[in-house]
């Protein structure tokens, strides 16, 4: 009652860890059997290895947290040679998060990483708020987002999902632009731009000054954006933003997501994805569903369901 099929992805269940919140799976593989997961969204890869921003990189906020990791990663070669092979022992589709400072960067990473045997789809990170170049810049301009999507689609061997930024006036506008540019799906939302100041020094707590806000605090923003975008486009959405429980998963599916990703909650409870997957069947029954598919988009009374939902 949990399986979902999306472009490039045959998911045992609709729950996967969100990019940047699960590393490359290594640490969690010591805690539970990763075969349980619907998929794994691995940490962003850039062409070159990056240290990222200076510390402090995280700060707590009411019901949420700020992070400014800054795309620290071992670089494309490191990911392909070390991280991805380690995940081959699991029967779980990998969604590779692709980042960079220029269209060429994205194309380079997308072309090579999409050829890795266990990479089933790409997630174009055009919404990272924590880097000076690239990242969010691509995600806030429909034209740039579309151009990038098109360029990456040309070189990718697997379906391409575009990760949308919530820091925009009209998220539907960006969603439509990337759909038209050939995106196979959307993932949303990335973090909201935020800041916290230290009362003693007066200065920002994060070395990077601003950071990305995630966690329960942003859930209502995510729900409304997914609700809106799922009406505006007909490609599927993987939803995220503050998910902490099986009930939250249900709310995201109702809003119009076809699957979900769990981010920050992995830090609070490293077993959370596994626990949510265990709880899903009973919770679905409790609310009268015999399959997760039935929940998708239920908040839109009159919305025609996109094709892949009818399958």
């Amino acid at each position: 009652m949990l399986n979902i099929t999306l472009p490039g992805l045959t998911l045992k269940n609709p729950v996967m860890p969100a990019s940047g919140c699960f590393g490359f799976g290594k640490e969690f593989s010591n805690l539970y059997d990763l075969n349980k997961l619907g998929a794994i969204m691995i940490k962003a890869a850039t062409p070159e290895a990056r240290f990222g921003n200076e510390t402090p990189r995280v700060a707590e906020t009411p019901g949420g947290m700020l992070n400014a990791i800054g795309l620290q990663n071992p670089g494309l070669s490191g990911v392909i040679q070390t991280e991805l092979p380690r995940l081959e022992s699991f029967d779980v589709p990998i969604i590779a998060n692709v980042a960079g400072s220029s269209i060429e960067d994205y194309m380079e990473v997308a072309e090579r990483i999409s050829q890795a045997p266990n990479v089933a789809a790409l997630e174009l990170n055009i919404s990272c708020p924590n880097v000076k170049t690239g990242g969010i810049a691509f995600g806030t301009d429909p034209k740039m987002a579309a151009d990038l999507t098109e360029a990456v689609k040309r070189v990718s061997s697997v379906p391409v999902y575009v990760k949308l930024s919530p820091n925009v006036t009209s998220i539907s506008e960006i969603a439509i632009a990337v759909e038209q540019a050939g995106a196979d799906g959307l993932t949303m939302i990335n973090t909201l731009l935020g800041m916290r100041l230290d009362l003693k020094t007066g200065r920002p707590v994060l070395a990077n000054k601003t950071g990305g806000l995630s966690g329960p605090a942003i859930k209502p923003v995510a729900i409304r954006m997914i609700h809106e975008v799922s009406r505006a486009v007909s490609i599927p959405i993987i939803g995220m933003g503050g998910i902490q429980s099986a009930e939250d998963v249900l709310e995201f599916l109702y809003a119009g997501a076809s699957a979900v990703a769990v981010g920050t909650a992995n830090f609070v409870n490293p077993f959370i994805c596994s626990e949510i997957i265990d709880e899903l069947p009973e919770m679905l029954s409790k609310y009268g569903f015999s399959h997760v598919r039935e929940c998708i988009g239920r908040s839109h009374e009159d919305a025609p369901k996109p094709d892949y939902h009818r399958a």
Binding site: G23, G52, T55, Q72, P216, F267
Partner: protein
């Protein structure tokens, strides 16, 4: 193996000004071995505050499956933790990180354990284990003042123990380095935990000896997945170590002490 457990609070008391000793019981204790490891504590049932708090393991008692943490009530999280009562449960993840290295080569050696403030707690289990293998622990503990000091007799029972305080109300007035100089303490290796400036001073001073330092850094996950707690390493711009999973204990010089 890292585990997660709702552990039983066996005892919880204020042992010095704003310093609490919390004893927890449960299966997780069986996984705890090395001194210098820490646990990640959920301080509230709701998601406020959202993140866990890293606290060092101060004593492991495998017989009765209890372990002890000692923490200072400082911000929102530790204040909430301090209101928990015996009989209640606490949600713990651990043991985390790699502790201080201990092996039989230390037998008969004089090992100086130096701690500042809330860096003192992990040294207690460390000292117990060193003594157990036949090493000779010597302690130099720094506190703000005598009111904030704790475990003085407990340490004294394990070996020579000296103090420094900022105001001179206990031991030498000044820092732990002042106390080490004043008492002309000799040692073979040095294990330290405390504020970064203290660690830095020790690292700079004792370049000839074997020195291990336990670091603190703001954490997200505590298990190596979020990259919140990284430090630079010398001579490699993209290189790094994670305090939570590669540390918190590093050999002096292994990481750049500015984080």
């Amino acid at each position: 193996m890292i585990g997660k457990e709702d552990m039983q609070i066996v005892s919880h008391k204020e042992i010095a000004k704003d310093i609490f000793e919390l004893v927890l019981q449960g299966e997780l204790t069986r996984q705890m071995t090395k001194p210098g490891q820490f646990v990640h504590v959920k301080v509230s049932e709701t998601f406020v505050p959202l993140l866990r708090r890293p606290i060092s393991i101060a004593r492991i008692s495998r017989e009765d499956r209890t372990f002890t943490i000692i923490y200072r009530k400082s911000g929102e999280g530790t204040a909430l933790l301090s209101s928990k009562k015996p009989g209640e449960k606490a949600d713990i993840i651990g043991p985390l990180g790699n502790g201080f290295p201990i092996d039989s080569s230390l037998k008969g050696k004089k090992v100086l354990l130096t701690g500042g403030g809330i860096g003192v707690p992990p040294l207690y289990e460390l000292s117990r284990q060193l003594k157990a293998i036949g090493a000779v622990p010597v302690h130099v503990l720094g506190f703000e003042n005598i009111e904030a000091s704790f475990y003085k007799e407990e340490f004294a029972r394990l070996g020579d123990t000296y103090f420094s305080t900022t105001d001179g109300s206990l031991g030498v007035k000044g820092f732990v380095t002042d106390a080490i100089s004043y008492h002309e303490i000799e040692f073979d290796s040095l294990y330290a935990c405390g504020p970064t400036p203290m660690l830095k001073a020790l690292e700079t001073r004792y370049t000839e000896r074997e020195v291990y330092l336990s670091l603190e850094e703001r954490m997200g996950c505590g298990i190596g997945a979020c990259f919140a707690c990284v430090c630079h390493i010398p001579n490699d711009p993209a290189g790094y170590k994670k305090v939570c999973s590669d540390g918190p204990v590093f050999r002096a010089g292994e990481v750049v002490l500015s984080c």
